[in-house]
Symmetry: C2
Subunit: 327 residues, 2 copies
């Protein structure tokens, strides 16, 4: 089988690629494991060389139908659609966000539909689909009420994936990811970038600005668990998914609910007072507004019934980051 | 000021046009009433001649940006976007539904945005955005979970209108209409067509097929009240709307919750046993599935706070139909 990862040169895309290459197989249409013969990594930038003959890096515009037609054929059993314009950037550049987060997602679904073989499509969504006055714990059936263009575009793509699945065009699965922390690398344009920055930069002896109040509650997932969930989400049996109550093809992944204060305490536990001193507190209204509209916790009973797990504690998350990224 | 009605040759469009011409004015951007100088009725078919110099009938494809650019200029203070592919047809022809219910709505918003004058856009949505396991009474914050392509497309257009409003591109208002009954004319491809047919046809001495069980509960609104709500929805002050709790630019209009049995009893009261004998009961699984996924009642406290009213009883609805359409 072939597998496609859009956003395959990105942080999660590369991690997922590495995991799939290690496994060497993935559940096929009948639920039986099949060998992965080709892993296509499509992105606007070239993915690094994996030194693996199965990997085929493709550079192209994901909103261009011809590019997607080249990337997807009837052997493409699984598509992980990770490519996205992040929240801060989609708010700053409305047209770009619409083009990538909405149009490209729809074109991807259309190309899958045209192929006619009903591939599994795993689509990552976000806390940002929620907003407004929220209950303390967001349930699977809490209304979508995005307060950002990013959240709007993700909510729309979710609705499309559900309808394309209902009609039998694809076998879709939407995984709503908590904010991923700790991401390696540099800050990005996501409004939630600080959720990694205030841990990562201090561990590197660099200053990091925290733009939200210390009481702000975040809903976090480590990269390790995110990759596990993506693979498990793809392998879930369609019948098991359809037997779940609620909005059936959308799964809120388990996270941990942590305040900024608690994140800082965890950093202190792992790396001491010196590290914590690198965090500067400078509230930024634009970010407070976006991040403040997201839920700090959601009900994950459906995910748990499917065997999807979150992290044990934020201290563990930091330790895993140190292990994975700072060897 | 100019006013645009898309779907202006349709049943609601024509009714709304007549009402606006009678009124002669509409609240402008500052809330003060302004004279309507031009009323553009855009549709795929020509609207009938209103014998009124203010009316400008335009025939064109609403998904064609050039057509919308011709229909909307910076004097267009209000847009009533009624054009749509109905539920049954959007289910039968997926691409057509996407093109009109989604792409045309988005293009309309884009043209308004490009004009830069932030017109009021009144968009009609539907019970069909809800579905799945529903509470007895649907609240404004009940999750969107459409079980049809029509409902999906309407839900997406709602999300777009909210975001375009939040960003200041338009001043949008989504009115979720109950099923309109009694519609005049002939049956159409809406899954809910029978909700008018089982009253209208018997009153004409014709047979009508009821495709759902008699216990099916519908959420109905008369054409008179629908037109009142469209005008009032357009004239609502943006500040009043924004002060409401919940998903602020979406308003569930008040309906009456009536079972098919109760509809038939009302018909008997108005037109006697002879009329009722014209109803044949032949369940149609395709329609039972779509209609059965819609809520039979929703919470309308927000609409009521805005002064929007439903009908007093279904007997009154039938009597109003006879008065308006069978003179």
């Amino acid at each position: 089988m072939k597998v496609l990862i859009t956003g395959g040169a990105g942080f999660l895309g590369q991690r997922l690629a590495r995991r799939l290459l290690e496994r060497g197989e993935l559940a096929g249409p009948n639920g039986r494991a099949e060998k992965i013969s080709t892993l296509v990594l499509l992105d606007v930038a070239a993915a690094p060389d994996f030194g693996d003959a199965r990997v085929k890096a493709m550079v192209g515009d994901i909103a261009d139908r011809a590019v997607l037609e080249q990337a997807i054929d009837t052997d493409t059993t699984a598509v992980f659609h990770l490519a996205a314009i992040v929240s801060g950037q989609a708010e700053a550049d409305f047209d770009l966000g619409m083009r990538i987060n909405l149009d490209a997602s729809r074109t991807l679904l259309e190309v899958c539909r045209a192929r006619g073989h009903r591939p599994r499509v795993v689509f990552t969504s976000s806390v940002a689909v929620y907003g407004g006055t929220l209950p303390d714990v967001v349930e699977d059936d809490t209304a979508l009420n995005p307060q950002s263009s990013y959240g709007t575009q993700k909510a729309i793509a979710e609705l499309l994936l559900n309808d394309y699945t209902r009609r039998g065009f694809v076998d879709g699965r939407v995984l709503r990811l908590p904010t991923i922390s700790v991401r390696p690398g540099r800050p990005n344009a996501a409004a939630s970038s600080f959720a990694s920055g205030i841990i990562r930069e201090p561990l590197n002896g660099e200053t990091s600005v925290c733009p939200v109040p210390r009481s702000t509650r975040l809903w976090l997932l480590s990269p390790r668990r995110a990759i596990e969930a993506l693979v498990a989400g793809c392998e879930l049996d369609a019948a098991v998914l359809d037997a779940l109550p609620g909005n059936r093809r959308v799964i809120n992944l388990p996270g941990i609910s942590v305040s900024v204060d608690e994140m800082i305490a965890a950093l202190r536990e792992v790396a001491g007072d010196e590290a914590v001193k690198h965090i500067r507190h400078e509230p930024d209204d634009r970010i407070v507004k976006i991040v403040g509209s997201w839920p700090g916790r959601w009900d994950t009973s459906r995910a748990e019934r499917l065997g999807l797990r979150g992290d044990a504690s934020f201290v563990d998350v930091i330790r895993a980051y140190v292990e994975d990224e700072r060897k």
